[in-house]
Amino acid sequence: MSIEVAHLTKRFGTFAAIEDVSLRVETGELVGLLGPSGSGKTTLLRVIGGLDLPDSGSVAIDDVDVTGESARQRKVGFVFQHYALFRHLSVFENVAFGLRVRPRDGRPPESEIRRRVQQLLDLVQLGFLADRYPAQLSGGQRQRVALARALAVEPRLLLLDEPFGALDAKVRKELRRWLRRLHAELRVTTVFVTHDQEEALELSDRVVIMHQGRVEQVGTPEHVYHSPASLFVYQFLGEVNLFVGRVAGDKAYLGGLEVDLPSHTGAPADHARLFIRPHLLQVHAEPTSGAFKATVVHLNKAGPSVKIELLAEWGDPVFVEMSPERCDQLKLARDAVVFISPQSHDLFVRE
């Protein structure tokens, strides 16, 4: 089932949680809404699910306008950040809830309910916990019960609000992969909210990056990462270095360094901001043309890559990431002097 939202605005008092948001999600897609807290991503999810009503704009599911319909009528599976499991009901009854509250003529017989709930519990690998209560489960187990409960009503869409937000890092990664497999199996159109860029980039078919109630960019993880539409997207999707320099014509001047900016077309500026990701900076042991001098301040070798903090010759901090092999080759240590050359096509320039 596809989702189409058009020009949605939702205000709380004078604060616009989302403003003029338009978005289309295709049938079977797995889409991540990514943004910092307060960016409106949860509000957008709640408006799609019918838990909040928009002040203006429309929501259509499968090209049928549902803006006026309640959450109850929309037949949408919603998984809450803190799971919202019914704590007075067993795991089994939690999952069965959506079937038991159906009007009598649409309610499956008891044997059918039992069969379906058991099937769903097996799907989320919790069949053996059917008689437990939510308080007796771990966070990851509760999350999966919440998912099974949402799936029991055969929802047209699955909406997940920070599905892994309350879990510790290891469980998060396991559940993330598990959700990806589950989605590949079920093919339910799914939208999830996260503030974790790694999670969004790893899990989504497409990412919607939100900022201050608006959509900044929509695209595949690869596309938004390599072709950010705005400075915000660039900064939000990974570590960045910021240099302030002068830009004139197709040249940038950083300290005493001149960098070519062949594709730059903007007006000259004395205080242009130039951004570059730490792993894209080239480090040399000897002075090289197009390189500035820097001193190593701190090295962190724990992990697949080495993270190095340096001080540029003009006094700004610089962050560099490189392979351990390259680090050994350069014989980097505290107070070592190196030469760093930014590659012009990796620079992201904002006047």
Binding site: G49, G50, L51, S70, A71, R72, K75, V76, G77, F78, F80, H82, A84, L85, F86, R87, H88, L89, F97, G98, V101, R102, Q125, Y133, P134, A135, Q136, L137, S138, G139, G140, Q141, R149, A150, A152, V153, V171, E174, L175, W178
Partner: protein, 287 residues
């Protein structure tokens, strides 16, 4: 270790003080009531609590509670629901108003109804013209008791419902439950022990209320006397044995209510503990 021993001693001292205080001000009077009640033996006791005026007072008290308890239970749940789950204009005023009966003296609460419905009151002449008697009659007793007992259920439920939030209800609605189904299947089961606790306190107060009821009752023997008022009349007539016998009935009701309350409080604690002390187990996802 010394600090710990010192702590133990202080703990023992505090417990001793608390127990001594309770013995002096609760147990001794309770024993006194019972001793006085049975001073002239079973026969006099039985006669005192079964004579027509006493029976009428018992009936009237229970009848008042029977009307007041359901009404204020429904009101309390509705008010707590509105206050805890919604934001609306006038919400803060509603919270304050619910507390009002706790803040004003019960005598004032009674007087308010005399001023409204009494012979010289605002609605008095109109009521008299239509043959409706409120003050010095059963409706007056119900009104005064209703007023005094408004806060019990709502006060008990508001913090509970606020703490529980609205996510469970939203989940139920998203799963296709109607508003009514959501209330019966989700909201009510989660507040039931708190609600029962509130109802027990409400009932105890409805039976035992003296001040407000005393003002609107008119003290007509066998007609508008509730149990607490009946005790007072007997006492004023120096009929101590009968007064204490009837008082022991009230005490008995209070003890039963307290016991029920303890059981409920124990149940409430027990259902809340596992939720807050949830243990995180292994996640056991197969790779």
């Amino acid at each position: 270790m010394r600090r710990r021993d010192g702590g133990k001693a202080a703990q023992r001292l505090l417990i001793a003080v608390a127990l001594a205080f309770l013995a002096a001000f609760l147990v001794v009077p309770l024993v006194a009531v019972l001793t006085q009640a049975f001073e002239q033996g079973w026969r006099v006791y039985w006669a005192s609590v079964t004579e027509p005026d006493a029976r009428s007072a018992i009936r009237l008290t229970l009848l008042t509670a029977l009307v007041v308890v359901p009404l204020n239970t429904v009101f309390g749940v509705a008010a707590a629901w509105a206050i805890a789950k919604f934001r609306f204009p006038g919400r803060a005023i509603l919270i304050t108003l619910i507390d009002l009966p706790f803040a004003v003296s019960p005598v004032i609460s009674g007087l308010v109804f005399v001023l409204l419905f009494g012979a010289n009151g605002v609605f008095g002449p109109w009521l008299a013209a239509h043959g409706v008697k409120v003050i010095f009659a059963f409706p007056g007793l119900v009104l005064a008791t209703l007023f005094v007992t408004v806060p019990f259920v709502a006060r008990e439920l508001i913090p509970l419902m606020q703490e529980q939030g609205t996510e469970m209800e939203e989940a139920a609605i998203a799963l296709g439950a109607s508003g009514w189904q959501t209330f019966w299947r989700v909201t009510l089961p989660n507040i039931k022990w708190g609600l029962l606790y509130g109802v027990i306190l409400l009932n105890a107060r409805a039976i035992g209320e003296f001040g407000a009821v005393s003002v609107v009752s008119g003290h007509i023997r066998g007609e508008t006397n509730t149990l607490p008022l009946h005790v007072e009349i007997l006492f004023n007539e120096y009929n101590f044995t009968a007064a204490f016998a009837v008082a022991s009935l009230l005490t008995l009701m209070a003890v039963v209510a307290l016991a029920a309350k303890s059981v409920v409080a124990w149940r409430t604690d027990r259902t809340l503990i596992p939720a807050s002390a949830a243990q995180a187990g292994p996640t056991d996802i197969q790779p």
